[in-house]
Symmetry: C2
């Protein structure tokens, strides 16, 4: 049973304060993950940028589409994300998990057309050996564009496909995809059915909002759940929580 879990940047950081970890939320998530690993589950953790990544990405004008050849700027973003990864690794290690980092800048690249290729040999071998691979939204070399941002959501989709994952979970700050009345939509099977609620797929966030998330998840063979921290244990226990996109 292989699970890909995305911990949203806004869940594990205080998005309003530069480079501030939300220790309480990160600790709760790590606790739940440790329980899942103890019960024999295989899990890959992907985390977003929150107040570590987005600030630096904005400062250096780098997005998913707008590349940069300024190595210093790319390195600043990458290093900031590494500091958040370190916090995630420490939170997991403190709870008896053996996490190891897999940095997308090292493991992957984007082709001219924007397609992300992520080498998953390290992730596969780590899982087989009982480690918990931890990936981060990152900068990544992009053919013809220097470097661009690769979002945690994109990594989740890539890993879910290449590892043929059984479960995908996106833990964000909302309990699921909400309808016009603010109620959690139980299940989404097509984008058209929820387009009115989600609005345009354009994003104010460098790594994409909910509409972009849902569109990508719909392309997966693996069912994906969108939930908030209160739903994490339910997701890990039962394989679903919040809104299920399939």
């Amino acid at each position: 049973m292989t699970t890909i879990l995305k911990l949203g940047g806004s869940v594990i950081t205080d998005k309003d304060e530069p480079e501030t970890v939300d220790d309480e939320q990160l600790g709760r998530a790590a606790e739940a993950i440790a329980g899942y690993v103890d019960s024999g589950g295989e899990i890959v953790v992907v985390h977003g940028g929150g107040s570590f990544g987005h600030h630096h990405a904005a400062a250096h004008g780098v997005t998913r589409a707008d590349g940069s050849h300024d190595g210093e700027g790319l390195l600043a973003i990458h290093r900031a994300m590494g500091r958040l990864t370190d916090a995630v690794l420490d939170a997991l290690a403190d709870r008896g998990v053996d996490p190891l980092p897999v940095r997308p800048l090292s493991a992957g690249f984007r082709g001219e057309d924007g397609t992300v290729t992520l080498a998953d040999g390290s992730v596969r071998t780590m899982l087989a050996e009982g480690f918990v691979p931890v990936l981060n939204g990152d900068v990544i070399a992009h053919a013809g564009h220097g470097g661009t941002i690769v979002s945690g959501d994109t990594l989740v989709v890539s890993l879910a496909e290449s590892l043929d994952a059984d479960r995908v979970g996106l833990c964000s700050t909302v309990p699921g995809v909400l309808d016009d009345d603010g109620a959690v939509i139980d299940e989404i099977r097509s984008f058209e059915a929820v387009a009115d609620v989600l609005g345009e797929s354009e994003s104010t966030d460098v790594t994409g909002g909910m509409a972009a998330k849902v569109q990508r998840l719909l392309e997966l063979d693996t069912p994906a759940s969108v939930f908030d921290p209160d739903g994490l244990s339910e997701f890990l226990d039962t394989g679903r929580a919040g809104t299920v996109v399939r």
Copy 2:
């Protein structure tokens, strides 16, 4: 013209003092690399562990063959190597180069038989976009063994083959492979011819001594030079210095 350059750990660190960078030697090397890049050369830099890697590897009992499933130990070695990589990146960036890190733990793995597979898509894309990829001797997930050490020399050989490099250079603390009289051997074409001088291929060093280096370089299609810091500029200018192994 693609060059793979290994900076030995004992060149860029003070091997007797834990986690101490030799700023003067690192600065000299970075200066020479910056000149090469300015003149249009493509270069991949690989650095060894020196007083960053070997201390932690010994403390946690991890070698190239003896694996560990202790995530904390593997992470300690990986992070120590990351601190040295940061020093290398900063030294290059200070001289106008745009370096980006490629961590072998993220990009590669070892199969059951010990063979290292290193995904080179990130390195290729970085080179094409004008960046200088910087790799480090590292820990790496090893099928059936948890994690083991991958030496800078192994990475150099892997990259030289997969990138079809034009030049390979190993910058160590000796001016080349020395004969019984302490003179630099100009060229080595077979191990047998120098076996007496090099002695056994066994190593007291976790990542292999000179005999192991020469054996690996002989397997390459690319000619490789072994030289000391005084030979680095000559190597970058002319493609050879010290002892040439082909």
